[in-house]
């Protein structure tokens, strides 16, 4: 008799413990991947610090040797002496005084090149300077590192060059490939400029300039950010990529063995013929990756803290961070989906790879794919309140930075969390599916859907295509969006990306255009209902936008004005606006979203979820965050109509009508952005919309092949 099944938790626990136990017994992996970095990483930082400090000490201890040459050497000596006096008596104690010593030599250039001296100071009369330049040009040995200082001439002034005014020149010659020579140059150059400035001021004063030099030379700066905020901003930028790198490297220790290792050892078949379900196996392995990744992160962070506490490592001066418990909790919550995303993706490549070697090949690009968006927090001027919140990982990176400087934009923190959580959910599903594929065991690279190919494979790939289309859409909006006219943008987006992508999918998967675009006749009552539905949905949408504006996030006036400007642009004739804003979206956006996308997803989820997902994706394609909710709302309505009628024609009419009702009255001046509708209008519109849906439902001819019951799963 077959014994009864234990509960899921027990099996999951057994699988998880086994994963951890096997890892813990792999001494080499633990030593190389976990314990060695504990010494190597801080050791590396320590060595770098030591080298840096030693170098700095040597630079400070060195007495810099210079030589003075040129036909105005006497005058040059005066300037240099004044500059060195400034250096020796500098009241600023934050930097060490650099000591200089003059060498009385003649062959200055050869000694400089040989490293015998650090600096050559040439003091030249205008004639000598001209001769020198002419010789250099002739010899084509112009050194770009040369600095020329004309003490009496303002930089960037219209007074011409020093030779034109017949003034002497000081030229510093140094070797840029030597830290010592460069240090000597930098410091003396700065001091000479100070001397020059003082000389100039004295000339002004002597000439009867009415304002005292201390007044016009006075510059004061003040940093209004607290040290905690500055420290928070600094750490906030680095925290996400740092933890992500640790998590990736730590999780990878477990992930590489999770499926790839099982395949290579031959234990995967043993495991898959046990009664443990695929989902339990995936969950246990994912838990293992998360556990090991988190442990690696924690011990590395603790390790670094220990080094800091012991004084072996030094933080930058004045680095202060003040994190509240709320901040820590928020950061942890934001990192949670990131952790799941990393573990799912690592497990995914472990499933795809046939060998350790192949895993390594996949790991490098994956590493970059994670690292690049995690650096979003470093980008200057990038606020969380932007489309970046929608980008998985990047949104979290920016959100963490904002939390660490004490800024809490709750809505966009939630969006950043949701975008990464959504990506992690998707990655988890993909991973789950990987273990269902037969390529894990059989020599065939393809499973049943692959074998059937074409239409059977399409539902699995449709979201990938739309992600790809979104990326192209997003990048073209950034790169060429501003260069194009309204018409050009619409042709590019709708004609090239949406229609082109749709047709490519139809061709690639051998789909029947009539089915995929839902080109089916409809009951005449539906079309009549749509005519009522157009104003009803439009007004309901305005009501919804008003609610969003009032309670979720206010739409900036600039956005409304920018949108209005397009509609009111007199340079575009009305017929063109109607064509580009009403007709083209009505046809092409419907073919892409309610056609191809909805067709691809119809069997994946229940009809309600399909409506929400297609609506949400439709909203995301309108990049501007402030249009996301209204367009997603319309997308949901349109998807519902297509699912109820099985046809795309009603929504083409609806979409056209919706855009026309938004465009024409405003263009004709019948309404303006300031027009305010009374609240009862929204209520009536909403009731009318419900009635419209009731009519459509009564004469519905549902979309064929929808998912009704959970399909049999080969778990």
């Amino acid at each position: 008799m077959s014994p009864k099944r234990s509960d899921n938790t027990s099996v999951l626990g057994t699988l998880f413990r086994c994963e951890i136990k096997r890892l813990m017994r792999d001494a080499r992996v633990l030593l190389i991947s976990v314990f060695a970095p504990l010494v190597i990483v801080p050791g590396y930082i320590l060595v770098m610090q030591w080298i840096g400090n030693s170098e700095e000490q040597r630079l400070e201890d060195t007495v810099y040797e210079y030589a003075l040459s040129g036909d105005e050497a006497e005058w040059g000596l005066e300037i240099v002496s004044a500059a060195l006096a400034l250096e020796a008596n500098d009241p600023d104690t934050s930097q060490a005084v650099v000591r200089f010593e003059r060498q009385q030599v003649t062959n200055t250039d050869s000694l400089l090149q040989a490293g015998e001296i650090h600096l050559v100071i040439e003091a030249l009369s205008p004639e000598a300077y001209e001769r020198s330049r002419a010789e250099e040009i002739a010899a084509d040995t112009l050194d770009p590192e040369e600095d020329e200082v004309a003490p009496e001439i303002e930089e960037g002034s219209d007074g011409g060059t020093a030779p034109e005014l017949q003034l002497p020149i000081i030229r510093l010659r140094f070797r840029g490939n030597s830290d010592f020579s460069r240090r000597a140059h930098d410091r003396l150059d700065a001091r000479i400029r100070e001397v020059r400035s003082e000389l100039r001021d004295s000339v002004y004063l002597a000439g009867g300039f009415p304002v005292g030099r201390e007044e016009f030379a006075s510059v004061e700066t003040e940093n209004t950010a607290s040290a905690e905020k500055e420290g928070g901003a600094l750490l906030g930028m680095a925290l996400t990529p740092f933890l992500l790198l640790l998590m990736l490297s730590g999780g990878s220790i477990m992930a590489v063995d999770a499926i790839t290792g099982e395949k290579e050892r031959g234990t995967l078949e043993t495991l898959l013929t046990s009664a443990a379900s695929r989902s339990e196996i995936v969950a246990a392995k994912q838990m293992g990756i998360i556990a090991v990744g988190v442990v690696v992160v924690v011990i590395n962070v603790l390790n670094l803290l220990a080094y800091l506490v012991l004084g072996l490592l030094e933080l930058p001066e004045n680095l202060a961070v003040a994190l509240s418990l709320l901040d820590l909790v928020l950061i942890l919550i934001l990192f949670l989906p990131l952790t799941v995303l990393i573990s799912s993706t690592l497990l995914l490549i472990s499933g795809y790879a046939k060998s350790y070697k192949e895993y390594q090949i996949y790991f490098l690009p994956l590493f970059l794919v994670f690292l690049v968006p995690s650096l979003a927090g470093i980008l200057p001027g990038l606020d969380l309140r932007s489309a970046i919140a929608l980008v998985p990982i990047a949104g979290v990176g920016v959100a963490v930075r904002e939390i660490m400087v004490g800024e809490y934009d709750w809505l966009f923190l939630a969006i950043a969390f949701a975008s990464t959580a959504g990506a992690s959910w998707w990655a988890s599903r993909l991973t789950q599916r990987t273990l269902l594929t037969e390529r894990l065991i059989s020599s065939s690279d393809l499973d049943e859907a692959d074998l059937l190919g074409g239409p059977a494979l399409f539902p699995r790939h449709v979201l990938r295509w739309f992600v790809g289309m979104w990326v192209v859409f997003f990048l073209t909006a950034i790169w060429v969006g501003g260069e194009l006219t309204l018409q050009g943008q619409i042709i590019l987006n709708l004609g090239v990306i949406f229609l082109g992508g749709s047709l490519l999918m139809v061709r690639r998967y051998g789909l029947d255009p009539r089915k995929v675009f839902a080109l089916r006749p409809v009951h005449p009552a539906v079309l009549l209902a749509v005519l009522v539905g157009i104003p009803a949905a439009y007004l309901t949408g305005i009501g919804l936008s008003t609610l969003v504006d009032a309670y979720l996030f206010p739409v900036p006036q600039s956005v409304l004005e920018a949108f209005g400007e397009v509609l009111l642009d007199d340079e575009i004739p009305l017929w063109q606006l109607v064509f580009f804003i009403c007709v083209m979206p009505g046809i092409l956006e419907e073919l892409a979203f309610r056609g191809v996308l909805l067709h691809g997803l119809r069997k994946t989820w229940s009809p309600v979820i399909v409506c929400l997902v297609t609506g949400g994706i439709f909203g995301l394609f309108h990049v501007d965050l402030f249009r996301l909710i209204p367009t997603a709302y319309l997308g949901v309505i349109f998807a519902a109509v297509v699912l109820l009628t099985g046809s795309i024609f009603p929504v083409m009419l609806w979409h056209f009508g919706n855009n026309a009702i938004a465009l024409v009255p405003q263009r004709m001046g019948w309404v303006t952005e300031e027009t305010v509708f009374p609240e009862w209008v929204f209520a009536i519109a909403f009731v009318a919309l419900l009635i419209v849906f009731w009519i459509i439902w009564k004469v519905s001819t549902p979309y064929p092949d929808l998912k009704k019951t959970r399909p049999r799963e080969f778990s």
Binding site: S6, K21, R22, G266, E269, T273, A275, S442, D450, F714
Partner: protein
């Protein structure tokens, strides 16, 4: 009439191969097995034995036909099928960093054996297979003979009513192969349903109560050894096998020569 614990009807499996296109690894096979019976699938390498058994073990998904084990359909209830099943093949390896005892405990638990009886069951198997001496050593450090014993114990640790042995003696020395055969005899005597695949004629002669000769994804002939002898007039199983395969090849060649002629089921 005994209840059929394994029932296979028109089972098919097609793969896609880059160079060959669609390949029918299993092309509509039927058989059933009774408790206390060793059913042998005899075929050359690539005949479709392993693919068939993997479909029964729910690792691969059939592209046609049906199969049920212990009353559970492989598509509808794969987990119940696997709970009723012990699967052993040359490619079902063990975790090298677990000890023998840990291996048995692990597989007993994930196969749903009652938690409070796991230890007792494991000790029982350790005694039965004489592996107490090295049950605490890591599997990776054991000899192949020792690992084989643990592997068999792993296969039956949850006491499944159906056992599948896919070419279990591949790579074993004579003594280890004999031991495997003895275990299979014992399990049959305990009333288990045993499906056994091999390409070694002597093994099939010695172990199997009924033998299905499989070739190019089809069962050419199915019956007891005696029935095969009577049907072919050959005494040795090797001759029987060659006779059946040659006959199938001839028919296939004729079908190729006259493509209008419908294919007949053997």
């Amino acid at each position: 009439m005994a209840i059929a614990n394994v029932k296979v009807e028109g089972l098919q499996k097609s793969f896609w191969d880059e160079s060959r296109g669609e390949v029918r690894a299993v092309d509509g096979i039927d058989f059933d097995c009774q408790p206390g019976e060793v059913f042998g699938l005899l075929g050359a390498n690539g005949a479709g034995k392993t693919t068939t058994l993997r479909m029964l073990a729910t690792i691969l998904k059939p592209t046609g036909g049906s199969a049920s084990l212990n009353g559970y359909d492989v598509l509808a209830d794969p987990e119940a099928v696997r709970r009723s099943l012990g699967f052993y093949s040359a490619s079902t390896a063990l975790y090298p960093r677990l000890t023998g005892r840990e291996t048995l405990e692990f597989f007993a638990r994930i196969n749903g054996y009652p938690a409070n009886q796991v230890n007792q069951r494991v000790e029982e198997l350790i005694d039965r297979f004489g592996i107490r001496e090295y049950a605490g050593a890591r599997v990776g450090k054991l000899s192949s003979g020792m690992r084989q014993k643990i592997s068999i114990a792993r296969t039956i640790v949850h006491d499944p009513p159906i056992l599948i042995f896919d070419e279990p003696t591949v790579g074993l020395d004579v003594m280890a192969a004999l031991e495997m055969q003895n275990v299979i005899h014992e399990l049959r005597d305990e009333g288990k349903v045993i499906i056994f695949s091999t390409h070694i004629m002597s093994e099939a002669e010695k172990l199997c109560d009924r033998i299905g000769i499989i070739h190019q994804g089809r069962i050419l002939a199915l019956g007891t050894l005696e029935e095969h002898r009577q049907a072919t007039g050959k005494h040795y199983l090797e001759d029987v096998f060659v006779h059946e395969v040659m006959q199938a090849e001839d028919q296939s060649a004729k079908a190729m020569a006259s493509p209008g002629e419908p294919r007949t089921s053997l």
